[in-house]
Structure formats: structure tokens, C-alpha cells
Symmetry: C2
Subunit: 421 residues, 2 copies
């Protein structure tokens, strides 16, 4: 009655899955749609920054040599040739003891090598001619933003695999990337299973609970950077189950089933996998929650059989599916970011297997604090609401006490870890 | 020539803006579209969890009293009445020395008060009748998940103002929230200004640069939880500028202009504000970058004049506009999350005004480390790409040295601070 399964370690499970993931594919999106996507190619500086010598202030562009000897007692007066607005270029040559009014960001006239801020000048009009006087000398280069001083042409500015933030968007726009090469989002199908499950819009019935896993997993898929296809509920019957999964596979890049089929977890899945000709990578992991997590693959497509227990389903997704999605997005650190934090309260349970505790991270003055989220029974769906990290307690350890340093996996960090185990 | 403006503190600027923000409005979305939105009403437990006494394992439901005295030497045998799958309820009464096979998640028969895991039983069939034998006693309540032990009916599970994560989605689904009351996203219009600006798809020209602020700000708007409307470039002319802004205001909830109009920053904006009848809240803030940041309001709508300098524009948005959006999303902590971190390198510049340094946060074993992002000239757009936090250095301070504790504002945290100044 009790199927014998050989548990493997979490690290081994992750490795078996990751070994099968192929290179991601790419597509182009308009820069207005690029936020949140992942770069599929480096951003290269297509020109130097600044692209020309420019004024960082509103002021006067001068030839520094003309200011030599200017003092409070011996001010030097310049004739003003013209005003150069940002976006304009000088139309007149600046000769000895001439100056051009220049606005922030405007290109310096070729003859000039310094800028004097308005505040350090006095202006007057003499016989209808604009004059400007200064009372100190300037050196060549004073108040000039030099061409290329920020970035030289050809520099790699942002690497492939980086999530497109507002800052990355600014770089894309600056260098003319109207269309951006991004990683295509893999499409992940989600089947819910379990006779006990009602849909979210059904009234509660004796013995039944509503299906929360499909919607939760859908949100996790979205958060990971993939596209979700909610496929409904699998029928409680091998034949129909086989056909549903078989047909769905042609529409998706990966498939997730959450929960058991019929009585007991996964009763039908092994049979479906066999009939499909899928190779099972593992069907038990030495971890809590989520030990009855299965992965299989068929024709290059991964099939994940996540637990019907909400917390186990949640953890299984983040540990096994998320890194696949991030890898397909060219992310060189596809795993959850692992950091050290101080345990906020005693956690007395022993940990025969690696344990992932739903927790919340606090940024205290003394450092990071991780607090287990209330009632930590594995089916406490409500404790998932406040979860933004998973405390990781290695298998074979006894309880932990408040103040211990523990590993914590951050669930909402946009950057990850290379290999967290 | 140099307009005199009276700078106010950052805190005062934020307060003046926040004082004008009204209560947010709400809308309903389907649970499949709820991820990333913000709750506009508390989630209440519409039933206890578990909704009935249930089995947390595959096993046998028994009456504990029948197991009294069971030992290795004196095992007790039970007749098996039926199998209760998850989602089913018992159809037969469980009498003395009877047991029901029960699957994980299934409702316990009313007569039973304990569950024995399969692993602790031996099964056999005698004369066609299923029997089960145990070798130890069980107490009432052993291996039972009691009705309501996770959550009592009526409990507030997740508060209004919380961003909908996958965990929150699980709670919504569990309690039948097919449609979710969320905060309506305010619509924010963005005008780019500046004669020097080319659009992202234009070839570089002498003296000109591409407009990065509009796309960057659009991404910031999206990240903050609002909807963006890119309105193009304002003409370099008061009349047309006035009409563009006037007309746009009826389509948006807030309006952002980035960059100067014509020569010098904001030359036309004060005139436009005056003609519109908008009240200017401030036009200078004692901070770097972003000192020339303007805010005004008209008929309950906020107008932000952000700097044309990319970094100043970026900082101005995060300090002033983001909290407005988050407040409209019922977020009780609408400001950027402020944490303490160790400065990773010397920052020698004095800080006559509050300074916000584009930086990157590292989670080190010893704690959080904040590293200024390379070349920190205020127009270095490339340094924005790797920015995920802003080191905040108070005005009136001299330089800081590596190892100093500094305040850091996190840009990507889903939770914020109540009031960071």
C-alpha cells in the first residue's frame, strides 16, 4: 500500500533538473514593454557618454587662457557672442576675450575649454553689446564634462541575464535601444488535482477544501518571470488524465501538476509518466515540507509533480521550478538568494531532513532577523501570506535557538545565488 | 538671470506633497489577475481552517480508546470499514475495533479521534475481510488536524494595503475570493521636455542626447504600482506647452514633466503653472541630486516637475512620487524602506545638502554592505543600471569613510517605511 520511494537530497534534485535545461530563447520587445523582462544580450555603449564636451551648469564657455590674471582687483571682461541652449551648437567662433552663454547639457564651442557659472560673473550691456566680467582665473577643463568621461564607446554596460529595472531602462534609452532583445518567457501549464478540491468560486462542502495551489503557483510562475497557463483540474481517471497531460504538453514549455490524483498523492502520475514515456528524475526529496515532489522529463520538457500541501507546493516551486525559469532567462544566478540572518525565536523541532521554514525577514539595526511565520504546520496556508523568505535548516540538526545564525533564502530579491546548497 | 528659489528640506517637501493626497479608489479584479496588485480590503477567514477535523497523513482513522493496551506483545486488530479519499466523507459508522482507511486531507469520521499512519500498521485480508493491526496505543487527538486549529472563522488574515504575493493569493483562493478588491492604479502621465532631447529611435546629432528620462520614469511608475501614459515631448513654446499640459490633465491622475523646457530647467513651467492656476508647493529642495524639483497641484491633481538630469529625476520620483502612489494603494508604509548598512568604500565629498548616492546593496555574512555605484557624477546615467538602493547622507556632514554605518533606502523592497526622515 505504501509505495517505497528513495529520497534524494535537495541539492541532488536541483542538479538533476538543471542538467536538463537547455539554453533560453529570445524575442524583441519595445522599450516601453521591457521593464521586468530579462536582457538576452549585453547592452553596449553605442556612443561615448557624454557624446561631446558639455557644460554641467548654466554659465559662460570661455577659453581658460583669457582668464589668466583675473582677480577681484583686476577683473577681465568678455564679449558675449551668443547663447547656446541645450540641444544647440555654437554658430559663432569664440575668439580671444569672447564668451558664449551656455546652458546645462549644451555642447561647448570647439575653441572653449572651461565654463564659468553664472554666479561667478557679472553681466552688463554696453552700447547694446552684452559683456560678462569675471574676477578669478579658470584652468582648462574647469566645469567641463568631457566626452566619454562617464563611458567610452563599446563598453559593456549591462550584462545579458540582468532583469530590466528603471535604471537599465534609462541606459537602453540613452543608447538607442528602441527594441530590446529579451529572454522569451517560458509558458508553464498548471493542472490542479485532487478530488477534495473545489474551485475558488464554489461553496464549501463537507470534506472538501478550495484549490489554492493552482492560483498560488500561477502567481509564483508570474513572479519567476514565466507565463502561466491554468489548465484546470485533472480528472480522477488514468485514461483521461493521460490524455489531458499528453495534449497539454504540446502547448507549454513545462508542466506542473499540484496535488494528488484520486486517493493519495500522485497515485496516477507514475502511471501517466510511464504511459507518456517520460523519464522520472526523482519522486522523493529528503526535505520538509515537499518530500513527495516528483520531476520527470519528456522530449526536452520538464514535468513537475508538486505536493498538494500548499506549503510543500510553494517550496517545491521555488527550489526546483524557479531556477529553471531564471536559467531560461539567461540569469547566471538562477537560484534563490541565500543570506545569513539571526533567528528571531526558538525553533525547537529536530530536523531529520533539510527543513524550509516559511518566514519573514526584518532589517534591524543589528542586522537581518528572520522570524518563522506563526503556526508552522505544513498545511497552514495562512502562514504563506506573510512569507518573504525561507529559513533553511540542514538535515540532521537538532532544534535551533533564538540568536542563532541561519541561512535564509529570499523570495523577492531580483538577484539570486549561483548555487545555494 | 538666475532665478532665486528658496530650498526646503526633503522631509518638508515630502510632507507638503503627502498632505494633498486623497484616499485611493478601488476596483475588483479576478484572482488570476491579482498578483502584484494591492489589497483594498482585509482578507477575512470565511471559514475555519481546517474546515473540519482531518487526517494529515495516509493511514487509519480509529477510536483511540480501542487502542488502549496495544503493545508489540499484545497487538490489537481492527476491521476496516471503508476507504475515505480526500474530498469524500465516511459513509459508514466506525464502531468499536473498527477503522477506516483515510487519505491525507480527508475528513475524520465523527466517531474517530486519532489517526494511525500506514507505516505503523500491518494489513491483511481474512475471509475476504480487510483487517489492520497495531502494536501501540494512541491518544485522542493523535495525528488529527483539528477544525480551526490553523485559523478561526472571521480572523483578519491579511490587511488592506498589502501587496498580493503568491502566498496572499493562496489565502485568497482558500477563502473563496474569486474576485479581489484591489486599489485602482493611478494613471500618471509623463511629458519629456528639452530641446536637446532625441527620441530613442533617432540618430545621435551634434549637441543632442537621447531622452532616457521618459522611459526610465515610466518604468519607475510601473514599479511603484501605477499605470503610465507616455505623452511625448512638450513643445518649446509657452502657448503650446500650456495647452498640452492642460489637455493632458483631464486624462491622468498625476502629471510628471522631466527636464527643462527650452533653455535652462523649468523656464516655462512656472509660467504654465501660473496660467493653469496651479499652486506651487516648492521649486527647490535642499538635496543632491534633484535640487531643482518642483511640485504643484491643481484641482486635487499633483504635478511634478522632475529634473532633466537622469539621476536627479530618478531620485525625485522615488522620494516624492512613489509614496503618493503607494498611499493611493492603501499602503500604510508608503515610503522607501530605510535600513542600516555598512559603507563599502570612502565617500569623501562633503554634503552641504542631503545627498542620495546611487548604490548597490550586498548581503554579506557580517551584515548589509552598501557600495556607491562607480562614477557618481549626477549625469552618469550608466550608474543607474546597477542601482538597487540609495545611500542617504544627511546635509551638513563631511565625508564618510569605509565601515561607517549609513542609512540606505531600498528601491526594490515590496514593503516600505512609515516615514523615513
Amino acid at each position: 500500500m505504501v509505495e517505497k520511494r528513495k529520497p534524494i537530497t535537495v541539492g541532488e534534485a536541483v542538479e538533476r533538473v538543471m542538467a536538463l535545461v537547455k539554453e533560453g530563447t529570445t524575442e524583441q520587445v519595445h522599450i516601453e514593454q521591457a521593464f521586468g523582462r530579462t536582457l538576452a544580450a549585453d547592452i553596449i555603449a553605442t556612443h561615448p557618454v557624454p557624446p561631446f564636451d558639455r557644460s554641467p551648469y548654466d554659465g559662460f564657455a570661455i577659453r581658460a587662457e583669457d582668464s589668466k590674471g583675473a582677480t577681484r582687483e583686476n577683473p577681465v571682461t568678455f564679449s558675449v557672442t551668443e547663447t547656446i541652449g541645450a540641444g544647440f551648437v555654437s554658430s559663432k567662433k569664440v575668439e580671444a576675450f569672447q564668451a558664449a552663454r551656455i546652458m546645462t547639457g549644451a555642447k561647448l564651442p570647439d575653441e572653449c575649454d572651461a565654463v564659468v557659472m553664472f554666479e561667478l560673473t557679472s553681466e552688463e550691456t554696453v552700447n547694446g553689446k552684452a559683456k560678462m566680467t569675471i574676477k578669478r582665473a579658470f584652468q582648462p577643463g574647469d566645469n567641463v564634462s568631457f566626452k566619454g568621461e562617464d563611458t567610452e564607446e563599446g563598453t559593456v554596460l549591462v550584462e545579458k541575464g540582468t532583469v530590466i529595472t528603471p535604471g537599465v531602462t534609462a541606459v537602453l534609452a540613452t543608447f538607442g535601444y528602441e527594441f530590446v532583445e529579451v529572454a522569451r518567457k517560458p509558458v508553464i501549464g498548471v493542472f490542479a488535482t485532487g478530488t477534495e478540491l473545489l474551485d475558488v468560486n464554489e461553496e464549501l462542502q463537507p470534506g472538501k477544501i478550495r484549490n489554492s495551489n493552482a492560483y498560488m503557483t500561477a502567481a509564483q510562475i508570474t513572479r519567476s518571470g514565466a507565463e502561466v497557463k491554468i489548465l484546470g483540474k485533472l480528472e480522477d481517471d488514468l485514461e483521461s488524465c493521460y490524455h489531458s497531460i499528453h495534449d497539454a504538453l504540446s502547448d507549454v514549455d513545462m508542466l506542473i501538476t499540484t496535488g494528488g490524483v484520486s486517493v493519495g498523492d500522485f497515485d496516477l502520475l507514475p502511471a501517466v509518466y510511464e504511459r507518456l514515456g517520460a523519464e522520472v528524475l526523482f519522486n522523493k526529496i529528503a526535505m520538509r515540507p515537499g518530500s513527495v515532489t516528483t520531476a520527470a522529463h519528456l522530449d526536452g520538457k520538464l514535468l513537475f509533480g508538486l505536493s498538494g500541501n500548499p506549503s510543500a507546493c510553494y517550496v517545491g516551486f521555488e527550489l526546483l521550478v524557479r531556477p529553471v525559469v531564471r536559467f531560461l532567462q539567461f540569469d547566471s544566478k538562477p537560484h534563490l538568494l541565500k543570506v545569513k540572518a539571526t533567528l528571531a525565536e526558538d525553533f525547537t523541532k529536530p530536523n531529520p531532513f533539510t527543513r524550509f521554514v516559511r518566514s519573514k525577514l526584518f532589517y534591524e539595526e543589528a542586522g537581518l532577523l528572520a522570524a518563522p511565520n506563526g503556526f508552522n504546520k505544513s498545511n497552514a496556508v495562512t502562514s504563506l501570506a506573510g512569507t518573504d523568505c525561507l529559513i533553511t535548516l540542514p538535515g540532521g540538526t537538532r532544534g535551533y535557538t533564538q540568536g542563532d545564525q541561519v541561512d535564509v533564502l529570499l523570495l523577492e530579491a531580483s538577484e539570486g545565488s549561483k548555487w545555494p546548497w
